[in-house]
């Protein structure tokens, strides 16, 4: 069993990560930090740099949590990748960030968070942007 965190290189992502670390400690489970970027765009704001991921790994290890950092760069659907990885690793909980979206934004782009909430087979912990 493991705690899966969907990590993004922004304040919301850091808040998500903190919640994931707490969750991993509480459950005494290892932490899996997943950063997903789409392969069908020229740049993806979700993509974390190598330095970023190294820092995450170092910081979380220093907190005494068993951590693995994974970067996925294939596929065009972050929700699919996170849900798939969660069931493949047998995650006990998925921690994601929840961004505020306008009604129109939801309609046009859909919501990655919403898909994860609906499709994941395990509990999902959603960290809200206001908290970050």
């Amino acid at each position: 069993m493991t705690v899966l965190v969907g990590y993004l290189p922004n304040p919301l992502g850091e808040a998500t990560l903190r919640a994931g670390v707490e969750e991993a400690r509480r459950r005494s489970e290892p932490l899996l930090v997943l950063n997903m970027s789409r392969d069908d765009v020229l740049v993806d704001a979700r993509r974390a740099g190598v330095d970023d991921l190294a820092r995450v790994e170092r910081d979380v290890s220093e907190l005494g949590v068993d951590v693995e950092v994974v970067q996925v760069e294939e596929g065009s659907d972050p929700a699919d990748v996170i849900v798939g990885e969660a069931s493949a690793r047998g995650a006990s909980v998925v921690v994601i960030g929840l961004r505020h979206r306008t009604a129109v934004g939801k309609l046009i782009m859909g919501s990655v968070a919403q898909r994860i909430l609906l499709d994941a087979r395990c509990p999902v912990l959603a960290v809200k942007e206001e908290v970050a």
């Binding site: 069908d40 020229l42 065009s76 659907d77």
Partner: protein, 182 residues
Amino acid sequence: MSTEATTAPEGTTPSGAGPLGRVRDRAQLGLCAALALAGVVVVVDASRLGEVTSSNDPVGPRAMPFLVGGALVVVAVLYALDVLRGGVGEAEAGEDVELGHRADWRTVGLLGGAFALNAVLIEPLGWVISGSLLFFLSAFALGNRHHVRGLAIGIALALGTFYAFAIGLGVNLPAGILQGIL
């Protein structure tokens, strides 16, 4: 750099190689042949033109094609010599192009198909339908898997362009079977 040429980038040929060194990227010779053929076609086509010259037009319609066709053949030969001496044209790079691996012919074929389908359907079905299909199928060929979104964008684009350009600016776009509805 082209697919074959990546294994032998420029400068790897031993400097001792003779003037007729190793041919890199043989497909280039096919292009030379095509150029020469085009030159011959231009010349043959021109030679069947009537030689109409007059005081108004002392040159006639044949001179230019003869010149262009002949030059095409000459350039094809020079090009072939360049290739035989190991010359390689650098395939075009770009910000969204990755030349490391083989060309993805499946995608290109699907795009060509979508394009041809649009050409066939544009008059009977009209631009709104054929254009939506073109966008949807092209996006699919390029790896889009959000089918509903792809189709929705396609329809929105086709409708938008039809109203803005055909109706707004008077551009020639056929309404097809939707004539009267749009």
